[in-house]
Structure formats: C-alpha cells, structure tokens
C-alpha cells in the first residue's frame, strides 16, 4: 500500500538529486527520461524513470483507479485501488480526462502547470496556493491534518487599498507582469512592455517596507 501521497512521493524524488537533464532512457521507450519519481511504499523506496508521455500515463493510471505499473509490474501493491495515489488527497474526478484537463491548468503568474507541480513536488510561486486552492486543500489537509494557519503573522499591514484577505498576493502579481513584459519585448510590442514596467514600479513602490526605503535612502 502506498503510504505517502504523491506529493510525498515526488518530494522524495527531488531528494535523489537528479535533474531533468540527465541522460537516462525512459523505462517504457527510447525517449529520454525527464521525470524521476521515487515511490515510498510501506517504507521501501522505488525509483521510476519515464519520458513525459509515459509519466502522464503512469500518474493517471495510479490515480484513475485502473491500476498497473509500467515500470515493475506487480511491484506496487494497491496502485489500482480506488483512492490510491493522488486521487484521494486531491479530491478530483476519477477519470483520466478530468486529470488531463487539470494537469494542463497553469498559474496566471508563474505559468507552472499542475502537472509540473505534481511531478516536481514544488510549486512555482506564492500565487499557486490561490490558483490551485481547490486541489491543494485536500492535499495539505492530508499532509498536515489541518488547513488553517494559526501561527505568527507579519506585523506590517498590507498597503492602503489592498484587500488584506488576499495576503501578499497583490505583490505576487509582479511575477505575471514581468512575464508579460518579457513577452511584449520579444514581439517588439514596446508600448505594452512599458505599461507592464510602470505597473511593476507602482506595485513595488506601494509594497516596499519603510525599513527598506530608509535603507535605500541611506545607501
């Protein structure tokens, strides 16, 4: 039985230290393996190396409830059980089609797809917590047994006019603006690039803490 959620799985995979550039072949075909997944099963560690296409099939099979392990048949007990892998913690639809749609969803700010997050175990930017809130909610509940922060909070208030309920997300929008600015420059749309740059400056100025401003003035 898989003890960890897939999140735990891919986090552990990260710890193997492999990067996506390693010259290793997919276990299912001759394409390069770009996903290195470490499964934790009842305390045992097993590694799976797959190309993007087979990684998608592998993860969908493990989550969709139709079983099977392309790497080592029979090695993963409980893979085919309903609720195994990510489907339980994620609380998403059980069909491969639903997952395929979810996997393609991407963050408006940093552009990471949900599929990339599932495989790397790392989010792309702070906005992902809002963008993928519905999907992360059961996953985080599974990890921590809670979904509400009760600890310390920043003492400094958000800038005037910003909805405090969204935390620092207003500042995080800079990530999306920077991407937009780069894209505008690459298509030589300098007017849009300038608008983005001005918007970034405005947000940065509003959010720069007084202590940092004082430091810059003294410098």
């Amino acid at each position: 039985m898989i003890q960890s959620s897939s999140l735990g799985t891919v986090c552990a995979g990260e710890r193997t230290g492999r990067t996506c550039g390693d010259a290793m072949k997919c276990q299912q075909c001759d394409n390069p393996a770009v996903f290195h997944i470490t499964e934790l099963e009842a305390g045992n560690v097993r590694e799976v190396h797959l190309c993007e296409e087979h990684a998608r099939v592998y993860l969908n099979q493990s989550e969709g409830g139709d079983g099977g392990d392309p790497g080592e048949p029979g090695a993963v007990e409980g893979k085919g059980q309903k609720g195994g892998g990510l489907s339980g913690p994620l609380g998403v639809g059980q069909t491969a089609e639903d997952l395929a749609v979810l996997d393609k969803r991407c963050c408006d700010m940093c552009g990471i797809t949900f599929f990339e997050f599932r495989n790397q175990g790392r989010l792309g930017c702070p906005h992902d917590y809002l963008q993928f809130e519905k999907e992360l909610d059961p996953l985080i509940a599974n990890i921590h047994g809670a979904t509400e922060h009760t600890g310390r909070r920043p003492s400094r208030p958000v800038p005037a006019g910003v909805d405090a309920g969204s935390g620092t997300d207003g500042l995080t929008t800079i990530i999306g603006l920077r991407r937009g600015m780069k894209e505008a420059i690459s298509r030589e749309d300098y007017e849009s690039a300038k608008e983005a740059r001005d918007a970034i400056r405005g947000i940065e100025d509003a959010w720069t803490p007084p202590a940092a401003k004082a430091g810059e003035e003294n410098a």
Partner: protein, 358 residues
Amino acid sequence: MRLDTLTNSIGEWLRGTGPDSDIVMSSRVRLARNLAQFPFVSRATEQDRADTERVLRERIAAVPVGRELDYIDVGHLEEIDRRFLVERQLISREHADAQGARGVAIDRLEQVSLMINEEDHLRIQCMHSGLDLHGAWEQIKVVDDQIERAVSYAFHPRWGYLTACPTNVGTGIRVSVMLHLPALVITRQIDKVFRSLHKISLAVRGLYGEGSQAMGDFYQISNQTTLGRTEDELVQQVADVVPVLIDYERRARDFLVRETQQNVHDQVSRAYGILRTAQTISNEETMQLLSRVRMGVLLGLIGDVKLSDINSLLIRTQPAHLQKLRGGDEDSSDDIERARYLRHHFEGGDSPSRATAN
C-alpha cells in the same frame, strides 16, 4: 570572510555545553520564508535568482538581527568550501549542490545561518549547544521579525507563510534536536523508540538532515507538520519528547554499566585504541568509534579526553575539513590522512601544521 579562519575553530553548537549536553548535541530551529514578488527558486530564471539574492542580501545587511553577520557567496565557492560549510551544518547539501546565485550569512559563533536561495528564498536557522530549543526559538524570532521589517514575505491569512513545498507551509518551522544515543543502539532498543516517534508525527533523520544516513549513533528528531499549530506548540511538541528520550538513553547507559561493564569498557577501550593507532581509517568508522569513545568519556571509562574534543573531531575528520587542514598535500588518501590526524590529536597536538608535518 575567509573560510580558512573557521577551520581551526568549532561552532558554538559543538562546544558540548548547555543542558543535557551528554545526550543532546544541539538544538535547532529553522524557518522557511519567501519573498512575495519572485517565483520560488525551482521556477526562477537565472535573473530571478540573482535579483532575489541581491534583494535579500542588501536588506538583511540593512537591519540589525542581533548579531554581526558575514556573508558568503556560495555560488562562487569552490566545491571543497561548499562541502566544508555543509559539514559545519551552516548550509544544506541541497544548497551546496544547487545552481545559480545563492549565499549564506552567518554569525561568528555559527549559531545563526541565513541561507539565501535554498529550496525557499530564505531559510533562517538558529543552532544552540545542548537542549535549548526555547533559546533557539527566542533568538530566531528576533531575526525573523527584523528581516520582516525590510521585506514582504509571501503570506496568506489562511495558509500562513507560503513555501515552495506544501510540506512546509504555514509556520515554515522545523524544530530539531541532534541526539547521541549509543546505549539505545547497543541495547537494540533504538528501532522501537523510532517507531514510537513516527506514531506521534516526529521525524528521525541522520546527522546531516533529510536523506542522510545515521552515522555514529547521532540522530535528529524533528516535527513533520507545520500547519494548524502555533510555533510555540510545535517547539513544545519536540521539547516534550526529548526528556523521555534522554531518560531512555540514561537508563540504557546505566544498564550497560551495571550488567555488562567489562564488555562496555572493552568496546570503548578498543575504539579508543583504534583511533589512536590506526594507519588508515574511513569517515564512517571514525564516526562510529568516536561515538563509542564519547560514551566512554561520559561513563567515566576514559579520563583524559574532553567532550568538546570529541565533538570537534566529529567535524574535523570529515572529508572537506581534513582536506583544508592538511593543506596542499594531495598525495595521501583521505583515510590515511584522517588516521594521521587522529593519531596526532590523541598524542597531544592539534594544530594543522603539526598534523601535516607528522
């Protein structure tokens, strides 16, 4: 800062002082923090990483964190220097092996370490000698508050501090103690203890944290969850279990002395003998034998060795430290050099120049 100046010293956390330092080597608290305006490190471009590093470096330098800090540009360090910092527990292996702009700010006592561009933009660590989790927590709060005056940490009212991996979200806190538990290992009770810890959601790791093997009977115990409880509660969760583990280990040591004194004395003496006379010795064997000698010192079976000396040797016999201590002599292997260093140390000398000349 010149790293060579650190070679002949040891961090405060290794001094073998503080409450229960016969069993608790050190207490550590770390906080994971990110700047709201940049992508997390794994998604960041080279430029993003450089900008994050610059912003954090400049703003940390501009606020008083209670200690004078030296900044080390890890991205431009030689591999041996990166490994050297890992061995001193000032940076993680992941940070040493990462790519791009990154650095670490440390204080002279090596109690405070601020890693920039590890898995998260900022990892704040405070490490104290012996059992002093509350002291480490009080210190890290000051550092965190001061830095927060100068930056906007990514934060959401419901999720708390936002981190690259959801396993750290919320408080972003990891509270850990490094314990020396040789008697529980010898009496084969250690697995039972670890199973109990897992049941109450505490993690057990080796000397160098996540993914590392336990060497020389040294283990790190830490919290696994970071959301839904306050930092004080999470500190207390670990603090509550440590006295129980200390009690188990002390009882196991008493049992060894009472029931198998001759055998234990023999094991300790042999370990000491090998360390003093071996001509070639691996890192693993050294750790194992130093662990036995450390226990022997604490049980009063070895009289002429100081605890802080053993703690110091645990770090100085690691590969990067050894390489720095021996200077340019590349001809002999690590294992030969380690044995030479140990022989020399126990003969009464300690300086690297004398060790090299030996």
